[in-house]
Symmetry: C2
């Protein structure tokens, strides 16, 4: 443990003081969100959503020294005047939340089978907890965002991949190996297209951004007419723009993604029976283009109307902060704060 590191202050370099000069210490949580392009560390006081202090550094996953960059970011939001109760860490998976090991994070050869949480814990002398970005975004939305007040939450992020976080009776679903809630890899059609993971017919292979693009490219190859031109760099955003201009193929591509998303979510309702479904991720921001067909499909596929009674279906509220606030919520949950 580094000497002199005991907490973080309310404003940089300045401890919160009472009128007579007595230093008031607070129990704080430090949260870290390891993203594809940047790592963010933040220090949180109890009952405040805004961080006391925040630091962003580039992830540079393929360059050596990632752990040191992360450690320094934590030090930067730390200060000696308050007690840090624990550190919450969020990273792309696969990882083991029970041991705090990263297993094989994308593009980072240094961190294969890497004891991230144990190393952070040893360095700073407090407990450190790790879980994956989708689980933590779900936990963040449940605790501080769209899911506040709900006890059974299904969070789904539709983006480059499809991830999920599931809260059951106020507890994060993690599973025996820590690999639960991989709902993007639930099989919705055994004969469906290949998924990014190498297997076939997963929800992600129908409804993620790349799946929407792949469908368009395949249709273009078959001669379907469109204002979109065959382009290896095409994005789901390009397809959305074409759809907004009335392009039939682009509209169809999103409708199809929404239809399969409805099939998947119907199954998830049958499995988890939540009171709220929260959609995050870039693809889910296109609105009706995706969600009109989603809602129709969901209603057609839910096998008992009671699942839909009082069910809230909404979009995420925390944006980029979901992962960070989720890492904070994980540490609070594990410390019973």
């Amino acid at each position: 443990m580094i000497a002199g590191l005991r907490g973080c202050v309310n404003s940089p370099g300045k401890a919160e003081k009472e009128p007579y000069g007595i230093i008031v210490t607070m129990t704080t949580i430090i949260a870290v969100d390891i993203g594809g392009t940047q790592m963010r560390a933040a220090c949180y006081a109890p009952d405040r959503v805004k961080p006391i202090k925040m630091k962003k550094v580039p992830t540079l996953a393929s360059k050596p020294g990632g752990l040191e960059r992360l450690m320094r970011a934590i030090e930067d939001v730390w200060s000696p005047d308050n007690d840090v109760a624990a550190i919450g860490l969020g990273s792309p998976g696969p990882l083991d939340p029970h041991t705090g090991f990263l297993l094989a994070p994308p593009n980072n050869p240094e961190w294969h089978n890497f004891p991230l949480a144990p190393q952070v814990s040893e360095r700073f002398g407090v407990k450190a907890f790790l879980d994956n970005d989708a689980n933590l975004a779900g936990l963040g939305e449940y605790r501080f965002g769209a899911g506040k007040g709900h006890h059974n939450v299904l969070y789904i992020t539709v983006s480059t991949g499809i991830g999920a976080g599931v809260i059951i009776e106020d507890r994060l679903l993690q599973g025996y190996h820590g690999l639960a809630a991989e709902l993007g890899h639930v099989i919705v059609d055994p004969d469906g297209p290949p998924c990014s993971c190498g297997f076939s017919g997963h929800l992600e292979s129908f409804s993620s951004g790349p799946a929407i693009v792949k469908y368009v490219l395949k249709e273009l190859d078959s001669g379907t007419r469109s204002i979109l031109k065959r382009d290896a760099a095409m994005t789901a955003r390009d397809v959305a723009e074409a759809a907004h201009q009335g392009d039939a193929l682009a509209i169809k591509a999103y409708q199809r993604a929404g239809e399969y998303l409805g099939i998947g979510v119907a199954s998830f309702l049958h499995a988890f029976d939540p009171s709220i479904v929260i959609f995050g991720g870039g693809v889910s921001q296109v609105g009706n283009l995706l969600f009109d067909s989603f809602h129709t499909s969901l209603k057609n596929r839910v096998f008992h109307p009671r699942y839909l009674e009082g069910l809230v279906i909404t979009t995420a509220e925390l944006g980029d902060d979901a992962g960070l606030l989720g890492a904070r919520a994980l540490a609070e949950m594990k410390m019973n704060l």
Copy 2:
């Protein structure tokens, strides 16, 4: 509450006595399992799997007076010398475990939107808890059977229908409306055959007993040769017997059911990540006929090998007692016993 009803004794009509004639009272649980043909009530002492007293009565669901028959069965296992802590009730769904109401049990017009647990509770002056038969069989296996020692359990019953019970970190998954873990109605192929519930492509429509029979009948209609003859009364057991005699169609029918069961269970591993999968129900007793193709399919479909590390796949141990012991476990769980 009926006067004089306070507990059940160790042997009918005789309280357990210490040498000097002091009556030793015990805290007991009464469990009730409402099946299609019979209702069973049993009184359990702590730490003993065998009931102190058990009573079976015909369900006669279509005949009036079902509630009175059930109440009398409870009275019959009750006696004044011990304290009954609570009553656990199991019934086919749909039902609401949070309110204790039956919603629409099969073949019983008297019990639509019926406050079963509240009525039992009022009559006997103790708390009463209700859940569906598959959830309770899962809970029973977790607590007293094949799942003992596991904390994350997936129980699947393959029979006339496909039901499930899921335990997550030692808690029964019930869901917001109490309709969670309806895994027989998870969609495994959107274009699949109709399910008993009226929707299509559910796991139950591929791998239940009637689904196996339907597949055989359809293939016979298409001219596939078999020792099985078209017969509206054909059962999955008939198909199993033909398979054991080497009939190719019958073998294929079970292989197909096992293959889809593997697809479904792969998705359930991705969703729940349990440490044990327990199969109950009549169809699952055919052994290799179903499970050879199940295991191949499961291994081909699980998208990360870690899900299978240490995973136990086994058959249920409690047989007909699973539901009753599950109803008991429900009451114990809710009373924190």
